[in-house]
């Protein structure tokens, strides 16, 4: 029985990288969105410029489930290289859309799916002579066919074509023509619509549609970043690119045309973080954007920034490691290497945005936190949030908000005779005052170094001042617990002894999984961690539950390790739920794993000692 569904299905486009399919596929997702139906698209792409397989998946979800679902209802199979695997992904009763120009034996198909053939190559060869045009318009033609098959509003697609080629107006007409070639073919030759249908609704609301990297970069603009030093690396390069674009629009002096920002593409990640530290030391707000391998390279400098107490902001858009790993696949695998980055005893502040809206919010807040705490702050995105368009609540900014530049002693205060000790804890919060270079002719200068020093920044290798300083750094880290974004909790309707902790891009899949778990008659309380160090509500949540699942996208349960390490909890009570194959975690995966564990735990209750 073919699947019947309105506004709730998954379409996957299987293409060849470099064939120009990306813009057509994205147009499809946007068209669904314009019909008021939430979508969650994901780009599954290779580390390659041209030739390797690439997929674009659009989850149509009127209910607003923005995590990956798993499985495909309609496969648009445009890549012969991946035909067999693509076919296998289709759910029973699903649909296959393919280019039927070249006849394929029946053995290449599945009996339990509906096969829809359109002779795309033949149509293109008939309509166009230029090979590149044949290639590009083929993509628009299949979108046209889909408008008929899915009962889409074709006017919306026409409008999007108009918007996309605004300024290159002569491209509008041929694209609209190609759209209708596909649509007309489907209407005349195929049964339209199929069991999957799109029906206009109003479920998108005022939400916006943007990639996390672009949102984080905009957060940096709003947060007052003036210096960006970076080195190209997937999946973070588009963050620096977006910062460049945003700055060109928002940060150029209208009169002088001069830039109120400086962006350097450095020679490597060491230089990037060095520039960030130099600029921050000198009183500018500075950041770098990188991924796991870059974090590895920056370790020595991160330790310097921690020990010399220099604010710095690092956006880590995580990808699957170790080593080069799977550079175009997503994971949450840099938690440990960031939380305890560098040699010696170190601890760092991490922020975990769940989507572009929080990427913007935390992207701005990171600079206040770095200045307030005088320490590195990591904004932990991942490829899933960073490089995919995600529907999220609109950005907001309070115009009365002032930047928190932290404890910076001014020339006036120095002149008035205020005692300045660079590493002197005057307020008991572990945070000392600093001065910017060039502040006062005779007062407030100090020597910054990675070697140990006393409270007045004087070099020393004596044990007591060293210990005093290291203990103060711990007090400062304690102070951070109440400054960073707090965890959010959602309790189940029925009281339960089970909890689940999750963070970052797992969020939408977790929210959806909860519905599935509850539908199965089970219940768990939820806590979404938004920052490290952990707020006191994290140990409270652990104390309130016998068992807590920790859902994360890495092999080694890194968040669980951080919790065990920092909250002194019995590891037996923390059940790891791990997804790390490089694809985004799904609600189906989480619900299945948690439900199975719950069944097991109920069958053989374990004695909890704590």
């Amino acid at each position: 029985m073919p699947i019947q569904s309105v506004n709730d299905f998954v379409v996957r486009f299987a293409n060849v990288n470099g064939s120009g399919s990306a813009s057509a596929n994205e147009m499809f997702a946007r068209a669904v969105l314009r019909m008021g139906i939430p979508v969650s698209p994901r780009n599954i792409f290779p580390s390659n410029i041209q030739g390797l397989p690439t997929w674009y998946e659009v989850r149509v979800t009127e209910a607003g489930h923005l995590g990956a679902r798993g499985g495909v209802d309609l496969m648009v199979a445009m890549n012969p290289q991946t035909w067999d695997k693509d076919l296998a992904l289709i759910e029973p009763g699903g649909y296959l859309f393919y280019d039927s120009t070249k006849p394929l034996p029946a053995s290449k198909f599945r009996p339990d799916i509906t096969v829809i053939g359109v002779p795309l190559t033949a149509i293109c060869n008939r309509e166009y002579t230029d090979p590149r045009q044949r290639q590009l318009f083929k993509n628009i033609i299949y979108i046209g066919a889909l408008t008929a098959l899915l009962e889409m509003d074709v006017k919306v697609v026409e409008q999007l074509i108009g918007e996309q080629y605004k300024g290159k107006d002569k491209l509008i007409e041929p694209n609209i023509k190609a759209l209708h070639i596909g649509r007309d073919y489907a209407l005349m030759n195929l049964e339209c619509p199929i069991g999957l249908k799109l029906k206009a609704t109003d479920k998108v609301g005022d939400r916006i549609f943007i990639e996390g990297n672009s949102a984080a970069a905009l957060g940096a603009v709003y947060g007052g970043a003036t210096v960006c030093a970076w080195y190209p690396i997937t999946p973070s390069s588009s963050l620096a690119d977006a910062f460049t674009r945003h700055c060109a629009k928002l940060r150029v002096d209208p009169v002088t045309k001069k830039a109120k920002y400086a962006i350097i593409q450095a020679e490597d990640e060491l230089s990037s973080i060095g520039m960030v530290i130099g600029a921050s030391w000198n009183g500018a707000r500075a950041f770098t954007a990188t991924s796991g391998p870059g974090i590895s390279l920056m370790q020595e400098f991160i330790g310097l920034a921690y020990f010399a107490e220099i604010p710095s902001v690092i956006f880590d858009v995580q990808r699957a490691g170790p080593s080069t790993g799977m550079p175009t696949r997503t994971q949450q695998c840099d938690l440990i290497s960031c939380a305890y980055a560098s040699h010696g005893d170190t601890k760092h502040v991490l922020l975990f945005p769940e989507d572009p809206a929080e990427s913007f919010e935390f992207g701005a807040q990171a600079f206040d936190l770095a200045d307030r705490l005088q320490t590195p702050v990591f904004v932990m995105l991942d490829l899933d949030i960073g490089m995919n368009h995600r529907l999220c609540k609109p950005f907001t900014w309070d115009d009365s908000r002032a930047y928190d530049r932290g404890k910076v002693m001014t020339a006036e205060e120095l002149e008035a005779g205020k005692d300045f000790g660079r590493y002197l804890d005057v307020d008991g919060d572990g945070i000392p005052f600093r001065t910017y270079p060039g502040t006062h002719p005779t007062k407030g200068s100090f020597f910054t170094r990675g070697t140990s020093r006393d409270r007045y920044a004087k070099y020393t290798e004596e044990g007591a001042p060293y210990v005093d300083n290291m203990q103060r750094l711990l007090r400062k880290f304690d102070t951070a617990k109440d400054l960073v974004p707090r965890p959010l909790t959602a309790n189940s309707a029925k009281p339960t002894k089970f909890g689940v902790i999750y963070f970052g891009s797992t969020s939408p899949a977790m929210d959806e999984a909860i519905h599935m778990i509850e539908a199965g008659g089970q219940s768990v309380d939820r806590m979404r961690i938004r920052a490290f160090p952990f707020h006191s509500s994290v140990p409270s949540f652990l104390a309130d539950h016998d068992f807590v699942f920790v859902v994360e996208q890495n092999r080694d349960a890194q968040m669980r390790s951080l919790i065990v390490n920092e909250c002194n909890v019995d590891p037996v009570r923390l059940v790891p739920i791990l997804h790390f194959d490089g694809t985004p975690i799904t609600a189906r995966f989480i619900a299945k794993a948690i439900s199975e564990h719950l069944d097991k735990l109920k069958l053989s209750p374990m004695k909890v000692v704590s």
Binding site: D206, R207, I208, L218, V221, Y222, G224, T226, V227, A229, L250, R251, D253, T256, K257, K258, K260, A262, I263, I264, E267, D268, L270, S271, S272, I273, G274, M275, V276, I277, G278, A279, W281, N282, G283, A284, A286, F301, L304, F395, T396, W397, D398, D399, R401, Y403, T435, Y436, P437, G438, T439, P441, T442, S445, F447, T448, R449, G450, T451, Y459
Partner: protein, 351 residues
């Protein structure tokens, strides 16, 4: 002598500069380097240059890497902020600092291990970018703090204190700086303060990347026979192409020279350099000729010193980036935050 605190009093008639400061106001703490270290002479030259230029000490940022040379910023300009960063990474820290505040003077101090070995990449790229700085390499050809291993500037065939012969080719940082587009390149000798002080002064006034390779013998590990970085060797093989008199833009030219022996070069800020030519055909403005000359003389075992190259109409990284005149670290939310109205428009464009 390092356990003695430096006395604060000084001779009442010590000469004062335009700001009313004596050279004591440009000093730092007492050096902890070995007695007779070439680096201390360079420290002295930096102090004298800043004193003579009447620079406000707190308007200088001193940035270094790791090593003997990188310790020296504590020994001069005690009222300046200093930053002893990580090994080989002074250039990136300095570049970042410079981006944050274009109004300060940036003095980067490094050594041959710091710049030619671990930090060769950062050295090269900071020069390429034209960061406005004075980049001094205190070059002794050895690792002092780790007891005398060869560095990458040690000449092939030179002998270590333990008797090993260096079989690796050496890196000529001045030649590299020329190739990489530095707009001011000089080489000098820590034992020749009359040559070094005016070069440092001219480098400070220069806009753009000014690179100074200063041969600075290590008295503990590289001052023996067979070394090509010893005091005796450098004195014997020093081939100065010119002697420099620095004339500040604020002062008229008072020095009179024999016609034909002196070339007066004007810098970006109006300051002038009077060069007494020693090598008759040496052209200060010819980058490729300078490179050729360095290599020819090096092949003969000679150490070419003096101001090797200067571009008068130089510019710097800030002009390449077209940044605003106000230092970036002085901009607040009013100048930097686009505000909620702009954000509403952005939201609208994302629907």
């Amino acid at each position: 002598m390092t356990y003695l605190a430096k006395p604060k009093f000084h001779h009442p008639e010590l000469p004062k500069n335009d700001l009313g400061y004596t050279h004591r106001d440009y000093e730092g703490t007492v050096s902890t380097l070995c007695a007779g270290c070439g680096h201390d002479s360079i420290t002295g030259a930096v102090i004298q240059a800043c004193f003579e230029l009447s620079i406000e000490p707190h308007r200088v940022a001193k940035i270094s890497g790791i090593g003997c040379s990188s310790k020296t910023p504590t020994y001069f300009l005690g009222n300046s902020h200093g930053f002893n960063s990580v090994h080989g990474r002074m250039p990136s820290v300095l570049t970042g600092a410079n981006l944050a505040n274009r109004d300060l003077i940036y003095l980067g101090v490094s050594g041959d291990g710091d710049s030619a070995s671990i930090g060769l990449g950062q050295f090269a790229h900071s020069i390429r970018r034209g960061v406005n700085m004075v980049y001094i390499v205190e070059n002794n050809g050895v690792y002092g703090l780790t007891k005398g291993q060869f560095s990458a500037t040690a000449d092939r065939g030179s002998k270590s204190k333990r008797g090993f012969i260096n079989t690796d080719n050496s890196i000529d940082l001045a030649a590299m700086a020329l190739q990489l587009g530095a707009t001011f390149v000089a080489r000098s000798f820590s034992g020749d303060k009359t040559q070094l002080v005016p070069i440092i002064k001219a480098a400070i006034e220069h806009k753009g990347a000014a690179f100074l390779d200063v041969i600075s013998p290590c008295v503990a590990f590289n001052n023996h026979t067979g070394s090509t970085k010893s005091f005796d060797y450098v004195r014997e093989h020093n081939e100065a192409v010119n002697r420099l008199d620095f004339i500040s833009s604020r002062m008229p030219i008072e020095v009179k020279y024999e016609p034909g022996t002196v070339e007066v070069v004007e810098q970006h800020d109006g300051s002038k350099l009077a060069l007494r030519k020693l090598a008759a055909d040496y052209d200060l403005n010819d980058r490729t000729a300078a490179l050729g000359f360095l290599q020819q003389q090096a092949a003969k075992g000679q150490v070419v010193t003096g101001l090797l190259y200067m571009q008068s109409d130089s510019d710097d990284l800030h002009s390449h980036l077209a940044t605003v005149e106000t230092p970036l670290n002085a901009l607040g939310e009013k100048e930097l935050c686009p505000g909620s109205a702009a954000l509403e428009k952005i939201n609208a464009s994302l629907r």
